[in-house]
Subunit: 351 residues, 4 copies
């Protein structure tokens, strides 16, 4: 009963096979191999547009490089208050930008509210240097609350960013999970709604180490080559990241794995709601379930081997918690089995 | 005939097998798995001492984090003029340190001369703020010239650093290659000669992505956890790096692969010297051969499929070059075959 | 009727005289002159303790250097949500620290609430790298709301910081104004209540450019010399800053000027309250008055030459504002005259 | 006999008078005053072109901001090996740029040789990320060797920079001294010869704290406002810097002071050469004299109250030094008197 995180899972057999195939022979290093180029081209196909692709080692690197490429002195970057870049990256965005500030913007269920964003941006009028200058907006899809932005919601954020002249970055650590929830195309969920730069994650969905930075305007790629190298994110044997993406994107594997993970989360969420002891903190839109359970139940679950994390409740949630309740996070992955889910649920309903 | 770089090779079958085994099941992320801990312990065994180990993704990351951990405001870091950190890392050390300066120190055959180092350090007397303050010394073993420091030579550098109160870092991107050349133990080649921090490279010697930062004083480890994370070098599925090292360090594989690469380089060097058209720029001490050949010969080699790089000659070498000669670099690896070497040599000796 | 800011004032005649005297003759540069040393010693007298003093050019420099000296990788710095370091320094603290994060803490009337601070710190448990690590607490005295922390309130913050092992910094851009309000000694308002580092401002209170960083633990001074120089804040003709402080601190001039500025603010506040159209947003504790007036009245004031800024209302204040009201800030200084204040008030009471 | 540095001098009476006049009344802060604007306009007149002007506190700040405004990731900045930015600013340029590298270029008598510059730039071909990318060239006028670049020599450097697409910065800490030596106009010595950004120094030539960054392309000014503020170099009472420049630039005071300082240096140099014990290390082109004297003579000079610094000899000079000789630096200023010079010389010629 592994629900601690999707990064506790290993790597899908196809990914492992891809790594094994890449292991043979010689090929140019630092991203110049045939395989690197082939996979970069594959990204352009998937996004129905010429894109520039940069493989990196971690999601934090992808996000931080994206934001660094947008930054200017005194830069203000607008993100949701609970965003991963703001809460869980140990100041990597601040470090990669040499001192940008992340400005938290509120919004229900992990989604930034467009009017709250517009208000936050308006606090920094052009030409007033004291507060700094807006330089970028970043959203997470799927969100840190396990929800997804609808296409319209992305478009609304994109519109606010566009009016303010700001590039829009999407942290897509769980991009595939959001995509299959919406039933949208990659193009629809990104540049067609105003996204300029994407962190495209493969690690949480069955790769071991495959993250890509996707620039929808390849004209912005020039500096990124230097940014990536000076950030120690240019891998000499880059083709092994390419090999993972090659397997990941072939024959729809990535979507299949995301659908499975999401289905497991839905099964878990539906099961929890049907018990009388549990309720959801937020609706489940991807492969993360945020639920509120009785503490006694949580003890029973852990006693019987379930692994998951308590999760810090936001102020709004905290007000709703009874003293004998705790908010938890349950994450499913490509490797989660229905049996695991059902075993978990049976403990939840057991007396 | 692949002699472009050891990072054009792929990954050894044992490494691939290690990755495949790690792919199954669930395990705590971010370095907390059993496998991570087991391999960390293995490093302590190999170095005959409690060490703190940090897995990272690239050699540049290992070097830059090592130097960042030593830095202070106005920090001067002493390195050989041709050091990888100085020439080939796109200012990553400067970026990770938020502005340290690399002070180039001369010395023949890629090795820093101890008295030149002492002189360079003496230019920064304590309490004079204008020039900044010395904060670290870094050497590369094996060197960028394909030579190695003897144990005594490391000790001499270590002694200069110790007297100046400076930590000594070793860039061991080709640590194994140097080790088997010297026939020394890892302890003898590092902390017993004054090395405080080591970048331990596996990637060039048969892994695909396995680099470790080794701190001989585990008391310095606390800040490194945060340094690594904020630099986007903490891998969620860290166990896949551990798995590579696990296979690499098991049953002496790492030494065996290095011995093979070195033997191929020696064969190449010996063969070249026996021709009348070629000579060595520096003696071959590891898996890199720096040679000076006639341009006509180089064209013939490339015409017949040999892959290698021209190499910028240092000032001293440049003076020795005839107008129809060029300096080149030939790198061997675990994957180089004697047949490749001999094919190359036969072109060199052919009329 | 100048109430825009205390930095719209010029320099007190005694300060000008000090500058003129320092202009003659030769003296060692970069802080090594007799005058520099004499004034540094004067700080130790005033604070009843050996302190290390660093003259710098701006309050932003003093604050940013103080925070930089406390920072570590992934550093979280706790400040009031409305703090100058957070709102008005264009990311200078983030830049000087190479990427620390300022964590806003709430509290009424510009003062950080000790329990809110403790809660904020507790969000970063030791050893969990993802969120970063707490490194410092900073408060502003007098606050950005024109109030002051009582000695007990400073002590309560100091106690939270001490328990968390964090240094406490005080932004004293209006140190003298707070001091005379409390009737305390400099020692009582700082290190006796747990303050470790102080930005001691003279510029807003009658100097033209005189800011000092005061370290109550001189053992921490070593690195600051390099930090200041690499931040371009070591002035070659440093003695001209020393000269300003020399005049400023002589015969209680600094306290006299602050008393005057505060008295003018009190007169203004009292006068406003006595009208029926105006009320105070926060109680007036120093030389800043935050008031809420009818828009029509503000127009009349400006028409007749009064200079002051509208001020962005905090959320709590905004709820209290009528649609025809605006919050403004009125700042007095050593140069404010009772006649100016009374002229302003007469417009406020006029029909 | 004060020859330690021109920054050991105080401030010229006209400068002091300017400060006193600025001290009265109220004026907008942060560079928005009438006086600020008037002086900015004066710079455009002097340079016969619309320029953007930014007042800052130190020469190090001006240089570092100039270089930061040119920097890009992996940035390589070309300077003379002995340049102040490289030797005496405690990594401020590296810090302000968040990690640029200063690439030392050689050249006789403190002047960068154009062909050495071209060779240095050619080491970084476009598109090869490992070494980083060239971003700027910086020269010092007058140089750190007390010489000056002729207009043609500036033009030759400017031409190399232009061909490489690099902006050219001039560190003009002693701009006026060089200008009067050449008898050129400010325009001729800067933008007409390819200079894009200038650090215009007033402090060493009779101001106490007056440095300006001059951008010959005002279109580059937008970001500089934020760069300056986030670097803590935006002074609230900026008008006091403006006031110094106002006096400095009025009625040719700046040129008159420079002429005097240069004349004193020439008198000193000529006098030294006429003795048999001393010789010049480099020809004297501004207000710095670098001379080689017998150690016994230096002791006599110091015994009789002369103040000056020994100076580290470059390698070429070191070869020429006898064992009983030392190289020293003698700096004159607006405040140096002919009597001081003659007293110094009489000791030199005395038996």
């Amino acid at each position: 009963m592994h629900f601690a995180s999707d990064n506790w899972a290993g790597a899908h057999p196809n990914i492992v096979r891809g790594l094994a195939e890449a292991a043979e022979g010689h090929a140019p290093a630092y991203g110049a191999s045939e395989l690197d180029k082939k996979v970069e081209h594959r990204f352009s196909e998937i996004f129905e547009r010429d894109v520039a692709v940069f493989f990196v080692g971690t999601g934090t690197a992808a996000n931080s490089l994206a934001l660094a490429s947008c930054n200017r002195p005194g830069g203000q970057i607008f993100c949701h208050a609970e965003a991963h870049v703001n809460m869980d990256e140990c100041n990597a965005p601040e470090f990669f930008t040499s001192g940008a500030k992340l400005v938290p913007v509120t919004g229900p269920q992990g989604r930034m509210a467009p009017d709250a964003l517009a208000t936050a941006i308006a606090r920094f009028p052009p030409g007033v240097v004291h507060g700094g200058q807006p330089v970028a907006v970043t959203i997470t899809q799927a969100t840190e609350a396990g929800t997804v932005y609808s296409l319209d919601q992305i478009g609304a954020i994109g519109e606010v960013a566009r009016k303010a002249g700001l590039p829009l970055h999407m942290d897509g650590a769980r991009f595939a999970n959001a995509l299959v929830t919406l039933g949208a195309t990659p193009a629809e969920m990104t540049w067609k709604r105003g996204v300029d730069i994407l962190s495209f994650g493969g690690t949480k969905n069955g790769c071991w180490c495959a993250e890509a930075l996707v620039l929808f305007d390849p004209g912005r790629a020039r500096e990124m080559h230097y940014l990536r190298k000076r950030s120690a994110q240019l891998f000499s044997k880059s083709r092994f990241i390419a090999a993972q993406f090659d397997a990941y994107l072939r024959d729809g594997l990535w979507l299949e794995l995301a659908r499975h993970a999401n289905a497991m989360a839905s099964r878990l969420a539906a099961g929890l709601v049907s018990t009388h002891d549990a309720r959801l903190a937020w609706p489940t839109g991807s492969n993360e379930v945020f639920a509120i359970l009785k503490n006694a139940r949580l003890r029973a679950l852990r006693d019987q081997g379930a692994v998951f994390y308590d999760w810090p409740a936001t102020a709004a949630i905290k007000d709703e918690l009874a003293t004998d309740e705790t908010m938890i996070r349950l994450v499913t992955s490509y490797a989660t089995t229905a049996r695991e889910v059902d075993a978990f649920l049976s403990i939840c309903t057991g007396e």
